[in-house]
């Protein structure tokens, strides 16, 4: 059994990287605009369906559908942000919960109407199937691909936030929107940009997750708890915090299920409560 620990750890990292990709957008939305957007999973689902339709009906190869999913998420995010979300930034968190849950219910029903209740098949290209032997350990090819893509995205995100002017503007707005506005930063545009980016990332995450999570209309509700876990444990608004939290939760969830399947579910929930109580601000407070 212990022989496969590296394999299990790798699975955890792959699972964590998927959680990160989908929830990083939510983390920034909640951190930047402190808007509790429970409908964030719906953007991931939209990305998933765009990828599934492109692949199954239009015959576009899987890898090529990823940018499409990213764009679809961005467009959906941009439209919804300007039409609906923008009016609710100053509303109470409870109104935001009511609004986003309502939106989620609509997205679930709409997806059922258009795509039917069943789940979408995805046919991965051959080079992503099966296993690859790396340093004596069998690693899932698709999971390797996942970890690679997500690490690239994470690096790009962290670098752009740290290095570029736009990144600085976003970080300023995250810390204090009023002060940032005082400096002449058009916080409204920054919100829109970030929300769109967050939705696009989530859509990309949705497309990448079909193979692991499966894709059916109830996706946004089914994994809502996992996305919230990452955001709150990681500390909303922090990319590094979300990355750390995703990895911790991913690894421990997989390890828990492998070694102690009977109490597997408790591991995650117990961990979340413990982490939250240790540092209410989440890992971001620790990571700083």
């Amino acid at each position: 059994m212990p022989g496969s620990l590296p394999g299990v750890l790798f699975d955890g990292v792959a699972y964590g990287s998927l959680l990160f990709l989908i929830s990083v957008g939510l983390s920034v939305t909640m951190g930047l605009m402190n808007f509790i957007n429970l409908a964030h999973g719906a953007f991931a689902m939209a990305g998933g369906y765009v990828c599934a339709v492109a692949m199954n009906r239009l015959g576009i190869p899987f890898v090529a559908t990823l940018p499409l999913a990213f764009l679809a998420g961005a467009v959906a995010g941009g439209i919804l942000e300007s039409l609906l979300y923008r009016r609710l930034y100053r509303r109470s968190p409870l109104d935001q919960v009511l609004f986003s849950l309502g939106l989620t219910l609509m997205s679930v029903a709409a997806a059922t109407w258009v795509f039917g209740p069943g789940s979408q098949p995805v046919h991965l290209p051959d080079f992503l199937l099966g296993q690859v032997r790396v340093a004596g350990v069998d690693l899932g090819a698709y999971r390797l691909f996942l970890v690679a893509v997500v690490s690239l995205i994470a690096l790009a995100l962290i670098a752009s936030l740290r290095m570029t002017k736009a990144g600085a503007r976003i970080r300023a707005s995250v810390d204090d929107a009023q002060a940032a506005a005082g400096l002449g930063i058009d916080v409204g545009r920054v919100f829109a940009l970030t929300f769109t980016l967050g939705s696009a990332l989530s859509a990309l995450g949705g497309a990448l997750s079909i193979d692991v999570f499966g894709l059916d209309p109830t996706f946004p509700l089914k994994y809502l708890v996992y996305f919230l876990l990452v955001v709150v444990v990681g500390g909303s608004g922090s990319i590094a915090g979300s990355l750390l939290a995703s990895m911790v939760l991913g690894v421990l969830d997989v390890v828990g299920k492998y070694y102690v399947p009977q109490i597997g579910a408790f591991v995650i929930y117990g961990l979340m409560i413990a982490l939250l109580l240790l540092s209410p601000g989440g890992l971001r407070r620790m990571a700083r």
């Binding site: 919960v97 009511l98 219910l105 679930v108 029903a109 579910a265 929930y269």
Partner: protein
């Protein structure tokens, strides 16, 4: 020199009497819909308990179903093992809910809104898992069946049409509502509203904040347990869903839809939500959730502060404008 100065008192306003008269009238006007009506009353009682902690003490919870479910299982197990007397089952349910609330209050009440949201969510999910793992006792996913109820007060059996269930639920709801009304209008209630508005200031007034929150959280847990017991007794079945995440999430939606902080918001929200759900799913069994979602989104834009919030708020503003 206006000697006015309104102070919280227990006087019944005319609008309240109309509300309760309507609740009694439902028994006669809708004889065939009493099963749905009693489930609305039970959900209203459950929403009342969330209103106590959210509307009055500012405690956000996404796992309130844990207390509801523990009350349902307590009453269900009692009846399952032969003790079918309803009222004592109800008290057992209340005690179970209060006990679980007290035990988890040390964890659930720390940190800000977002932390509380997630910790209570975690507690709810763990309660669900415990009940699922303890399948030998709770029946797990299959649920606890043959919850054999004795006659209410030894006189009224639980009939098929839901008549006894409705009267029983209404009586319990009204009793607990009066108790809540007292709590909310008492000095204790006033201190809760202080904690909700600015808990940081309360210690400077001499208030032991965490003790107060634990007290109201436990009382609310007891009320949620009673609501759970009521559902177990009137449907004579206890499923895992009494602890489920969607029950807590729907509850939060109903309270916000109705308007938190007015005691009536939970009940009005529950009635609106469940009636809409029943009608919509009757019309279109597969896609009704779309229209329900739309209803919620529209409510946020056009009925800010919830149904009761908008009505009562308007009256309050008229009062202040006239001054």
């Amino acid at each position: 020199m206006s000697a006015a100065g309104r102070v919280p008192d227990a006087r019944w306003r005319p609008a309240e009497l109309v509300f309760w008269a309507a609740a009694v009238a439902v028994y006669f006007v809708f004889p065939h819909h009493l099963v749905l009506a009693s489930q609305i009353l039970i959900t209203g009682l459950f929403a009342l308990s969330l209103d106590l902690i959210l509307g009055y003490a500012g405690i956000v919870s996404l796992g309130h179903a844990a207390m509801f479910g523990s009350g349902a299982y307590a009453a269900g197990l009692l009846a399952h093992h032969g003790w079918g007397e309803p009222v004592s089952g109800l008290l057992a349910g209340g005690a179970a809910g209060a006990a679980l609330a007290f035990a988890t209050s040390f964890v659930a009440l720390r940190g800000g809104d977002l932390t509380r949201l997630m910790v209570t969510l975690g507690i709810g999910l763990m309660a669900y898992e415990v009940a699922n793992q303890a399948a030998s006792i709770t029946g797990g996913v299959d649920g606890l069946s043959d919850v054999a109820m004795g006659k209410l007060l030894g006189l009224f059996a639980f009939d098929l049409g839901g008549r006894t269930a409705y009267v029983y639920s209404l009586a319990v709801l009204f009793a607990v509502f009066c108790l809540s009304r007292r709590i909310v209008n008492s000095p204790f209630g006033l201190s809760l509203r202080g904690i909700r508005d600015r808990s940081a200031r309360m210690p400077a007034l001499g208030a032991p904040v965490s003790l107060r929150l634990t007290a109201v959280y436990t009382v609310a847990g007891g009320i949620a347990g009673i609501a759970g017991a009521l559902l177990a007794q009137t449907t004579q079945f206890v499923g895992l869903e009494t602890l489920g995440f969607s029950r807590s999430a729907d509850l939060l939606i109903m309270l916000v839809l109705g308007g938190a902080g007015w005691l009536y918001g939970g009940m009005v929200g529950a009635a609106a939500f469940l009636v809409a759900q029943d009608l919509l799913s009757g019309m279109n069994p597969v896609y009704w959730q779309f229209w329900l979602g739309l209803l919620l989104v529209l409510a946020v834009f056009f009925v800010p502060g919830g149904i009761v919030g908008t009505l009562a708020g308007a009256q309050l503003r008229r009062l202040e404008a006239r001054r």
